[in-house]
Amino acid sequence: MAKYRIVHYINNFFSGAGGEEAAGMKPEVHQGPVGPGLALETAFGEDYEVAATVVCGDNYFGENLEDATAELIGMIRLYEPDLFIAGPAFNAGRYGVACGTICKEVERELGIPVLTGMYEENPGVDMFRKELIVIKTKNSAAGMRKAVPVFKNLGEKLVKGEEILGPDTEGYLERGIRVNYFAEKRGSERAIELLLKKCKGEECPTEYPMPKFDRVEPAAPVTDMAHTKIAIVTSGGIVPQGNPDHIESSSATRYGIYSVAGMERMDKKDFMTVHGGYDRAFVTEDPNLVIPLDVLREMQKEGVIGELADYFITTTGTGTSTGNAKAFGEDFVGRLKEDKIGAVILTST
């Protein structure tokens, strides 16, 4: 009987090419197992072989995502593998992201089972845990010995199409998939037992956790306004005349950053509003009603505030999903930090 073929992905470090100095290496392929693949091949036994090992530098992968992926897929495809294993990446962040990315792509392109492994706090875990089976490893390569049998067990099950049990039983990281099972006692009885524990102040683990509630603690107040740089952000839909970036009048998918350098006030010749949620007549006439540039300039001169950013950030609030608004914020906040903004005035209609 022909052996099941495994192709294994590792990075520059585990291939022996070197650490940071080799992180820029391009994809290459080696016959048979390399580095940690030797332990995998031994564990999987006679019916399996590590047919090839593909290697790529972590930086090269991160900086050339599409090219690197395409090239690697081409290499992997030639070996017609039955199983693809990446890593484990342990606590290496860039390696973890590379393992997750390549696994997803192999699964999609080649339609074969894939496996990777990471330490719980590897940033790759949160990116890929819902989509992939990520085996739970220790935070350093010293954990390889313990990880190998887990790879073997899950790999065999995947190749043979056997049922994958729960994360604790199998040793992978929880994927957030709700799976039915028959409990020993019926729901009403379990609920009563939990309630009695709760009344006694004992631990009463929920069978279904609530989603995380995203509240942010208030930032510390400004202590020295006269030396603070302020930026204006608005959801009031003020844009330069002609709306150069085509920000939508509602359900915005974009935001814009526009200059107010050298301006004393918001002039209606320069700015307009595209906001679809209210009567625009007043604001069209006087955009300062949304961006209070005139009074902020006064205060700047008076020394009430230290400085004013020479731009404002804008989008429309009507119909805009909280998801989009969050993404805008995450996108522009880096700029605010870079520009040493000490406080933000956000205006909404």
Binding site: G277, G317, T318, G319, S321, T322
Partner: protein, 132 residues
Amino acid sequence: MKGVMVTNNYRCLEKWEGRLRIDYNKEWGYLDVLLATRDYIHRGYFLLTHPLAGSVKPNQTPFKSVILAEESLEGAEEFRDLALIEESIEAYRKFMKNRPLPGWPEQTAEDFRTIDLSLMEGVMSNPMMNRR
């Protein structure tokens, strides 16, 4: 009380036109009604009915009606309505991803209109809806 019913069910339009403002659009799908509802909330309106009223899941019925008003009828926690509509839109997307709405024959569609109408009848007959 200044109310508005956002709907894509013409039977609601027929029944209550003149009683309150009806924002009816026959081109709207279930999601469009939810999005129009969200626009009203963003403009300061308050929900009077739950956006997912009727436990017919969003990928089963094409029809949806929601009533809002310019004033709130209850001392609800302040972020309630926005949270409700966002959760409803999220639920819609989840179920549609699961399995999109089938193309119902007209008789079936009419039955769904009846159910939606019935959900609104319960509300429209509530004395609080007649408050001035």
